[in-house]
Every structure is written in C-alpha cells, then in structure tokens.
Symmetry: C2
Subunit: 537 residues, 2 copies
C-alpha cells in the first residue's frame, strides 16, 4: 500500500470536479450542506482525539528531522480531487500528521507553559473562522469591534487590573496574537511619545530596562523597533529572581548621567524560567521621575490573577502604562489570544494609526467616536478573537476560570511536595503558581572530584570545585530530562538555566491533567533518576 | 422578555457547576462528548449562516456606534453557568451579534478586498484550534513544522514563484498572520543586513522606496522599525498607477548623492486602490547596484498567480529578496494566512532569531539542521496555519483554485462591461484582476459653473474649473457610495481616491458571489445613480 499522504492525486473526474465554466463558482466551496457534512467529520475527529490523547505519547519520541518531508509529494495536487479528498485528508491527519505532533493538550504535557484548551475556546475559534469577518474598523464589523471592547473590559475587571487600564476608566484594551506583538506595540508607542518630547535625533540614546529573567520577547521587540540599548539587570536567587527597584533606579540614574534617555521598563508577573514576580509598584516608583513607560508582561501568570489569593503580593499599580497577558496560555482561550491594555490609547494610535486610508472610511462611523482597532496594533487584518473570549467567560464564568487555575496550582503544590520529600532532589526556585522548578542534587560521589589535598586551600580552588560541581549537576539533570522525555508514557518537561543552574520545569496547566497524571509523572522522574544514579556509581 | 445578552447569569447550580474540589479540573472543559455535542451545534449554526447569508443585508445599515455596548452587561458572569450556557450563547450569536456584523462572506460583499472562505479553510482553522499545538520550534511539534515547509513550497510553486524563494531552491517560506507582519519582518531583516555592512550609526540615513499607491502597511512597518525616510514616489494614470523604475533610479541616485543609504524597495502586484502592478524586474534592476532589498507585496493579486493568464505581465524576478501574499484574501484559506518567502532565510533568522533561549532547546533536534519558525517572524507563539493551507490545496487542487479565481475575474469583467455600456459612468483605472474602479461622470449641469465669459481665458481659470469639476464629481460619487451602501439588498462597496479622483471599488471575490449578484449589484448602482442625478437637476 502506498503511503497515505501520496494518494491524493489518484481520484479525479467525479461529479463535482467539473467546473461550471469560468463565470460561476463551484457551489460546493462554501455550501451549507457540504459544511455540515465535513464539519461533522471534523467534530468527530477532534472529539476522538481528545478521548484518546491520554493514551498516546505526549510527543513523538521516534521521529527525526525530515520524517514528514519525505512522506509528502513535492507538488500540490494539480487536478481538482473528488469529494472523498476531504475524508482522505482527515484520515491522513489522524494516521500520519497527528502521530508526528507534540500534543500540547495531552494531560502529560508539562513543558514550556500550557496552552490550555477548552471545548468552548476551540469552538469559539471555529465560529470566528466560519463567520470570517475582518473587523479592522468599527464599520468593517460593528458588532465585532463592540464585543471586543466589552470583553476586554470584562477580562481586565476579572483580573482586577487598575481601573485606568480599562475602557471604563479611560484606558482600553484589545486582543492581539501574542505577547511579542503586545510588547512591540507598547514599545513603539513609548518610543514615539518619548521622541516627541526629547527630539527625533535622540533615537540612538533610548534605553530599555528589564531583568535577566525577562522573556526574550522584549529584546526582540527592542531590536525590531531599533532600540539598541537594553539593560538586562541581574537578579538573585535570594530575591526569588525578581527585578530589584534599586538596581533599576541606579541604572536609570547612571544612564541619565551619561546623557542617555530612559524609555521603557518591562516588569514581569510570572517569569518564563521560574514564575518570578517583579515588584511592579516599587519599579513604577523607581522610574517615575524619568517618565519611563512601564509595561507589565503577565503572559503566564496573568491568568492566575482571576483568583484573589494569587493576587497577593502582585502589585497592581495604577501608574502602569500597559499590561498584557496570554489568555491562550492558562485561561481556556485556545491559541492565539493575547489581551493588551493601555492607560492612554492615544499613545498607541498616535504611533500605529493610519488616518490617510480613505478606502477604509465609512459614513456610518463619521461624527462618532469609534474604536478602529487597526490603529491599535501592528496589523490591519485581524481575526474576531473576542468571540472566543466572550464564549469562554460566558460559558465558564469567572468562578469556573478560578476552579481551573486553582486545580493546576494545587496539583503543582502536590508535585512540589513530592519533590521535597525525596532527598535526592531539590526545589530550585520558589513556586508561586503552577510551575515547579527542580533538579537532582549532585550525588556525593560527584562532590569530591578534587580530594587532592588542596580542598582546604585558597578560594581559587574552592571556587573551581563549586563551578565543576555545578557543571556536573547540570549535565546530570540535562541527561535526566532527556531520559524522561524519551519515555513514551512519561510527562513532557522542559528546562531552564538560571544563575548558571540547570533546572527541570514542570508546568502544570493542561486542561486534561489530573492528580493521577502528576503522580505518574513524578514516578517516571524518580525512576529515570534512579536509573541514572545507578549508572553513575 | 429581557434582552437575550443579559440573561446569562440567571442559571446556576446545575449538575456541572460543582467543582470537584480544587485538585481536579471540571471534566467537561475538554471532554470528548461535550465537544461532540457543542461542536454539532456550532456546525449547524455556521451551516445555517451560509445557507441564509444571501438573504440578509450585507452589513447592518441601521446600527449606530454603541448599539452592542448598551446591550451587554458591565461584568463577566461570576458564577459558573449551567450547561445550557453554550446553547444560550449560540442563540445570542445568531440573534444579537450576527445581525450587527458586516458579513464578509455575503455574496454581495464587494468592498475592500475579499476574505474568500471555503468549508475546508474554515474547518482547517477549526482543526488547528482543536489540536491547539504551538509549533514555535521543530521539537514543539515536528509534524507541524515540516508540513509548513512542504505546503509553503507547494503554494510558491503553484504561484510559479522564482525557485530561489522556495526551500527547494535554497530559500524558504512561512505562514504569518498578515502582510503587515511580513513586510515588517522583511524590512527588519534588510535593515540589520544593511547596518552590518554600513555601520550601526547610519540607522538615521536609511531610506525606503515605494509608490504613492503602496499599501500603508509599508509606512507602518517603517515607522515601527524606526526607519524615518520613506519616498512614496508619485504614479500616473498614464502608467496605470505603476511605480516607475526611472523615478526609483533617480530617487536612489539623489539619496546616495546626499549621503543617505538606500535600504528597501516595496513593489506591489495588485495595489489596494486599483489593482495596479509594479514592474518588478525593472525595479530590481533599478536598485541592484545599491543592494536594496526588494520585497514584493502581492497581498491581493498573489492569489491570481495560480493562473498562467494572470501571470502575463507580472515579472517574477529571481532577484527579489522576499515575497508575500494573503492566501486568506482570495485563495480560500480563511483569515488569517499570509504566506511569506525569502531568498535567504539567514537574513530573517539573523535579525529575528533568538538563540539564548535554553528553555526551548530540545535534544531531538540537536545536531540536525531544523527550521525553528520562531526565528523567522515577529512572534514566538504561532498557530498551525499550514494545516488549513494544506487542506485547501489538497481538497481543491491547483485547478480548483484556478476555477475560483477565474470565476471572479470573469464576473468582474462582466461588471466592467456593464459600467462601460452606461455612458453616465466611466471605468477609472485599468482592470487586471477582479477589481473594478469606476465612477459616475459629472453630469453636464455640473460642468459649466463658470460660464462667465472667462472660460476661454487664461490657464488659471481653466485649472480652477477643472479642480472644481473634480471636487463636485468626488462629492457626487461619495454620495453615490453612501446611497448604495444604505440599501438593504444592494452590494457593499468601498472607495479609493487616486490622483485626486474619488472612485468606487467593486471587488469581486466572495466565494458565494455569482453572476446574478453582480447583475443585481449593478442595477442597484444604476438605480441609486438615477436617483441622485434626478435630485441634482
């Protein structure tokens, strides 16, 4: 039998391949009954996928680069295939493509950060795709624009954002695809505001501040925006890897003294490596004098702010200029759905707006103050993301989202407890949300490589020993991650290196994850650790 | 009866609102049977929408800004609603939200550019949302990355792009959301390449070239990237609004003489206003000496390149550095789906890549040359857009796409013929694809406002008369567009102003549009014109 993916050109000449001449469309392309037929097949495929996803490996452990390239024909099918093409394609998705995927919805996906799905989130995206409107201006789809305005306020209020960031408080928000886009929008708005104040010739003097734990989205945004000076200030384990307001204040002072122009500070609520939380209020105070734009990147932990207990210690400062979080990470709104709020939308529209585009003007909106979202972000074309978020909030309620977040945090706490109960392991960073950073301690045999009589000697040798100990521990833990991820029934974990220490990250957040999966995941970690430690001895 | 959108907090306490404690998720959030139940409702809603869309107004003619804001509650529902919440929400979509939408899939949507849907395109998006993988690196979903590599080559080959832009020719491509993103990626790659050659301190000297017909996406990208010098060179009706290679050569020469650094040229295949085509080959030759990055923006007309006859006169130059087109506009891949190709992907990854992110590294890819798409574009998080494009190509075949495009071009030609047969109207710009730009000629009574004895006099009065004639014709045509768009059974058209002339745009491209809709649209245009002209007299 030929590989399934190569079969699609064999059928032809069926009753719908005949074009009705060139002046009318084939009426099956957007036919209601054809949609019903194909749609039911798709619903079944996805439902079956969810039903079975707990029983298949979370990622393909046996594929190597090129595995799918080799199975696919070099050219798209030329002739119009018959009506069975769709069924054939779905079979290939099931039998060829899905087995080569990393299953982010697997209950054992605990790598990176979650992309927590819901039936309502997936179907919200399907509805938006089916309706397929392009709401770039109010007129281009009035209900889509107004639903977005309402839902972004709903979400901001559910997270207890400062009122000035919401439409009701004089600010406003929108949905973009990703945090990378949100940070870039905020940075460009800040840049244009600052250059208007200090002069366009100072572009080379602008400085952006963050910590060494800030997501690379900021450095990327700065590079895209042509802002070359970025201060990634060091954090310390003793501060739980939070950005120090004193360090920021000192850096800003030094830069001003050197004739530079402080521009932008990115504070993080829930860093990617360890889930650390920067002290937003104190950071705002540290840069207030220099009118630095403060953006809060809560990509991951923003979702947790639906729960009062996880807002403890997270300062929601009114002085924040912009705030973003990924509802597609942990709030059941399938990818992509990044919510962004700004205190003064005029700064966004001044920087990103286009008013010369007469093509897009519409009489209905004339004389009214309407929001034209094309002027808020990077793109003109945009999807109707608000529909999905509206459905999620409406069908699950804020209390439902809280249950969802709390369940994951509780499971992460359980995982942490198991790690702490095993003396071979240690928890490397304070856990606040549903991310546990841990590692295997270096076993004693690895700790005495330099028992050569000099170990009581000078600091130099002591330092060297420490360095070598860290390196060996890192290698051991790297090997541990590979072992865990090579199992077909274990969890899929990822790693981070913070302050030179390599750690494993267990990020609980898949919608389907239950206590059983967490217990099983820990057993696999222990089993693989025991295997490695036996080999070391 | 209360307005439907306010009803969603009344239900509570049903059998699934009870959380199973905080340590397990509510098992309905991603439950297979719940997905099947809800999915079938969604499929029916969309199918019914397609079945009825020809019989409802293409856009809401009676809504005013704030209409939906006033109907929605100020807060998201707090308590978790019952299982009927989803059905209630779908009813509100049908009864409240959809009637406030502009229906881009209506057969009478002829405004802007099309967002041509297909059942397969919509369901491809639904599948990607259901699977909800985040393929930012090869390891993060191997099959998704490799399918994207294959499909982008399939599409490029179907458009007969120059081989060096395809993976098979040493280049490569990817899918992003929009042309705005594609141009920004290309511009930043070009900027980093050029600054590496001329020195980072020359950022203020970089110059971007385009025509006065180039989409504002370029000016926006330049602003975001901090490139302040943009030459929008004038076009002429006599050149069919194409960018003149001579004008570009002169501008580049002058800029070099002034000590500036030519950076980037954006050529357009199918401008937004009139569908004009810039002479790509001659433009490449004009800037070759200065090593200017040439990007081809074929957002709209790129789709037409599947047909050999529409490649006539479109120069597919091997020297092009990057090329983008929106498959979501006219190639049945629902929003969003912009394909972008580059001749040398290293320029993209040098500018946009991040290699310090140890969290994303994966042992499986080590030692292999794999494509990590996060390094190609602006964003880390990305959707599995390739699945949709693969389904479209596989289920319709290149011949099916050709039928689709040809049908629309043929209908546009028919519309053009009808315009030309009515002496009250004129076609204002040459039609190449499926966009007809036309206007009502100013009636004779408007042409003699200055019959005051001086009309045979000096050029000044003659010029003034011409200006006033144009202004009055513009006002008349603006009024005509308002009249057309105010009808509930007519088409939805948009406008453009080119060389001072206001014109109506009829962009055929909705999948459901047939000859009947085009004939009816023209009748509405004639009827509204007659009404206006009667009033003028």
């Amino acid at each position: 039998m030929a590989p399934p993916l190569r079969c699609h050109e064999e059928t032809n000449g069926s009753n719908n391949t005949k074009s009705n001449g060139v002046t009318t469309n084939n009426n099956l392309l957007l036919n209601a009954e054809e949609f019903r037929r194909q749609g039911n097949l798709v619903v079944d495929l996805i439902a079956d996928y969810y039903a079975g996803i707990g029983d298949i490996p979370v990622h393909p452990t046996s594929v190597t680069p090129g595995f799918l390239l080799r199975q696919l024909p070099a050219e798209a099918p030329a002739a119009r295939p018959g009506p069975e093409a769709f069924t054939d394609a779905l079979r290939d998705i099931r039998d060829v493509i899905l087995p080569g995927m990393t299953h982010w919805q697997s209950p054992r996906h605990m790598a990176h950060f979650p992309a927590s799905s819901s039936t309502v989130g997936a179907l919200g995206e399907a509805l938006a795709a089916g309706i397929n409107a392009v709401p770039f201006t109010w007129a281009a789809s009035p209900a889509a624009t107004e639903l977005e305005m309402v839902v972004v306020d709903w979400l901001g209020a559910a997270l207890r954002l400062p009122e000035p960031l919401l439409f009701r408080g004089g600010g406003g928000g929108t949905f973009v695809g990703t945090t990378c886009e949100a940070i870039l929008c905020a940075l460009v708005a800040a840049r244009e505001r600052k250059l208007a104040a200090v002069g366009g010739d100072r572009a080379g003097d602008l400085v952006v501040y963050c910590s060494d734990q800030t997501h690379f989205a900021l450095a990327k945004a700065a590079r895209i925006a042509g802002v070359r000076r970025l201060r990634a200030l060091p954090t310390r384990r003793a501060d739980a890897f939070a950005l120090s307001p004193r360090a920021v204040r000192d850096a800003v002072r030094d830069d001003v003294a050197a004739g530079l122009v402080p521009l932008f500070l990115c504070a993080t609520v829930g860093t990617t490596a360890t889930g650390a939380v920067d002290p937003v209020g104190d950071l705002c105070a540290a840069v207030k004098k220099e009118e630095v734009w403060v953006h809060v990147d809560a990509a991951y932990a923003g979702s947790a702010l639906v729960c009062p207990e996880f807002r403890q210690g997270v300062e929601m400062e009114e002085g924040v200029d912009s705030f973003s979080m990924n509802a597609h990470k942990w709030l059941l709104a399938n990818t992509d759905c990044c919510a962004m709020w700004v205190r003064d939308p005029r700064h966004l529209t001044d920087a990103l707006g286009t008013d010369h585009d007469v093509i897009l003007k519409d009489a209905a909106a004339e004389g009214h103050h309407v929001v034209d979202y094309k002027d808020w972000t990077l793109t003109l074309t945009r999807r109707f993301r608000a529909l999905k978020m509206w459905l999620v909030l409406r069908c699950y309620g804020v209390e439902g989202l809280r249950d969802h977040v709390r369940a994951h945090v509780s499971m992460a706490a359980m995982f942490e407890t198991m790690v702490r109960a095993d003396t071979r392991f240690e928890v490397v960073a304070e856990r606040r949300f549903a991310l546990v950073c841990f590692r295997l301690r270096p076993p004693p045999i690895l700790l005495v490589p330099h028992s050569n009589g000099f170990s009581n000697g000078g600091g130099h040798h002591h330092h060297q020993e420490e360095q070598e100990e860290v390196m060996m521990a890192n290698l051991l833990n790297r090997r541990l991650l590979e072992e865990i991820n090579a199992t077909t029934s274990g969890p899929y974990l990822s790693s981070a290196t913070v302050a030179g220490v390599y750690m494993l990250r267990c990020a609980i957040g898949s919608t389907l994850t239950t206590e059983r999966h967490v217990v099983e995941a820990w057993k696999v970690v222990q089993d693989r650790a025991a295997f490695l430690l036996r080999r070391q001895i």
